[in-house]
Symmetry: C2
Subunit: 283 residues, 2 copies
């Protein structure tokens, strides 16, 4: 495995791999790698012949007052994980390498970026799509892997790739969970042991919602109320949103029907946690 | 030469050429090819081993009341020109092939798209950058050629390519002119013989401006006034803007210094004509 910082080094290594007929896989990350990232890496390694992982805490996607300054960056541990999981190339650029001082270009996906986290984090998705477009253009992968935990992000990236005819396939991998159901996230590092226990209520409330829907409940307000009631068992949890939306368009539903996304965001101590579950309603 | 409409056919032809070690050149056009386009094609052919020309009248870059409906589409003549000038592949998609009905993604270059034509044609450059990003992702060229006649467009595209790390080089080719100085444009077809003669005043006024600047005039207002005075000799000319701006940032100048762009847009009968000249002021 090799770790490089310069864009031209990524290009030359990938070009050599492609010339050798290899299929290129890519996992973009902000580092602080955990078993969720590892599942993405393992998927890319299983599907491709040459796998690139980027580690870049992208400053533009953090809003004012968000956790950019304290976002964990355990580079040595991250590199070891990449090595152990058969990554071929790590791209670990600085912000100065990624962004020219006079950078003026944004890639924006309308509508899909409006609801859910888009409402709480204005500008966030525009920054994510822009940095992903840049990374895709640098790495030129055949396949890139994203996690279903960030459901809206995965959908937005897939839409960008389709709309702009980007020559790659997006694979969305299932959410990886801790034993108590908590979705694995780099931000779980901010939690105390007690908070990690308490945070399990998020997935429990989603599972309860899925049960209600599968039992025939079609009223989103009733199901959302039940999720909120369940999460209230942990008073420390600051609910940002609880939404039941169409899983493709992310638009609110009057009736729960088709493929729906049940999505939650909540603050717990210093961490903002998100989770979701997809329910297919065939009636 | 081959002409294809489907994206997957472009991809397969270009992939074969690349696998054969060929350098890929690309000239995006809206058809109605003229000697300006031909100079772009000849440049691409001289520099590359496999040249793709796209012919696509992009609906999204026309504003309400603009000439989308009547934009000329002489496809047979265009294909013959491409064939004669050693183009390898023509990509001639329909709007339905280029845009999914639920397309939501835009590529936008801030600031550079604000002045000049950006002021008169809101949304125009956002549509141009978006369709070029799509075409670049479909063709994946090593080099793409644009004309200096559309100076702002060339600058915006170069900025997009740099900011998004797109893996290609933009070559900007000099403006090609008719014998009387009129910048060659597909929209010149809208002009009568008399109007074509009259339109020569645009370039004459730009040359006069260059003379004034080279003679030491540093006051943009004075030079702009002289351009307007000259253009007034053709009363039918409806001046949209006359601007002297920094040739890199397109920002207005208090004093003419450095590398400046003198740019003009004006309506003449049914045609909107643009032209420009770059003057290097070394003082």
């Amino acid at each position: 495995m090799e770790a490089v910082q310069r864009i031209e080094d990524v290009r030359s290594r990938v070009k050599a791999a492609r010339t050798a007929g290899k299929k290129i896989g890519f996992v973009p990350t902000m580092g602080a790698l955990h078993i969720g990232h590892i599942s993405l890496i393992d998927t890319a390694v299983a599907d491709c012949d040459f796998v690139v992982v980027s580690i870049f805490v992208n400053p533009t996607q953090f809003g004012p007052g968000e956790d950019f300054q304290k976002y964990p960056s355990p580079l040595e541990a991250d590199l070891q994980i990449c090595e152990e999981h058969k990554v071929d190339l790590v791209f670990n650029p600085t912000p100065e390498i990624m962004y020219a001082k006079d950078s003026l270009t944004w890639v924006d996906v309308e509508k899909l970026t409006g609801p859910l986290c888009g409402r709480s984090r204005p500008g966030h998705f525009k920054a994510v799509t822009t940095v992903c477009a840049k990374l895709f253009n640098i790495v030129l992968p055949d396949v890139a892997c994203f996690g279903q935990k960030d459901a809206q992000q995965a959908l937005v990236i897939k839409k960008m790739v389709a709309d702009l005819n980007m020559p790659l396939e997006i694979i969305v991998c299932p959410t990886v969970r801790e034993e108590n159901g908590l979705a694995v996230s780099s931000r779980n590092r901010y939690l105390s042991a007690q908070q990690r226990n308490d945070a399990a209520i998020i997935y429990k409330s989603l599972c309860k919602a899925a049960d209600l829907i599968n039992a025939g409940n079609t009223d989103p307000r009733a199901v959302i109320a039940e999720i909120r009631r369940t999460m209230n068992h942990v008073p420390e949890l600051q609910v940002d949103y609880v939404s039941i939306v169409d899983a493709q368009t992310l638009q609110d539903l009057d009736n729960i029907t088709g493929r729906v996304l049940v999505a939650v965001a909540a603050g717990l101590g210093p961490a903002r946690l998100i989770d979701n579950i997809v329910v297919d309603v065939d009636r």
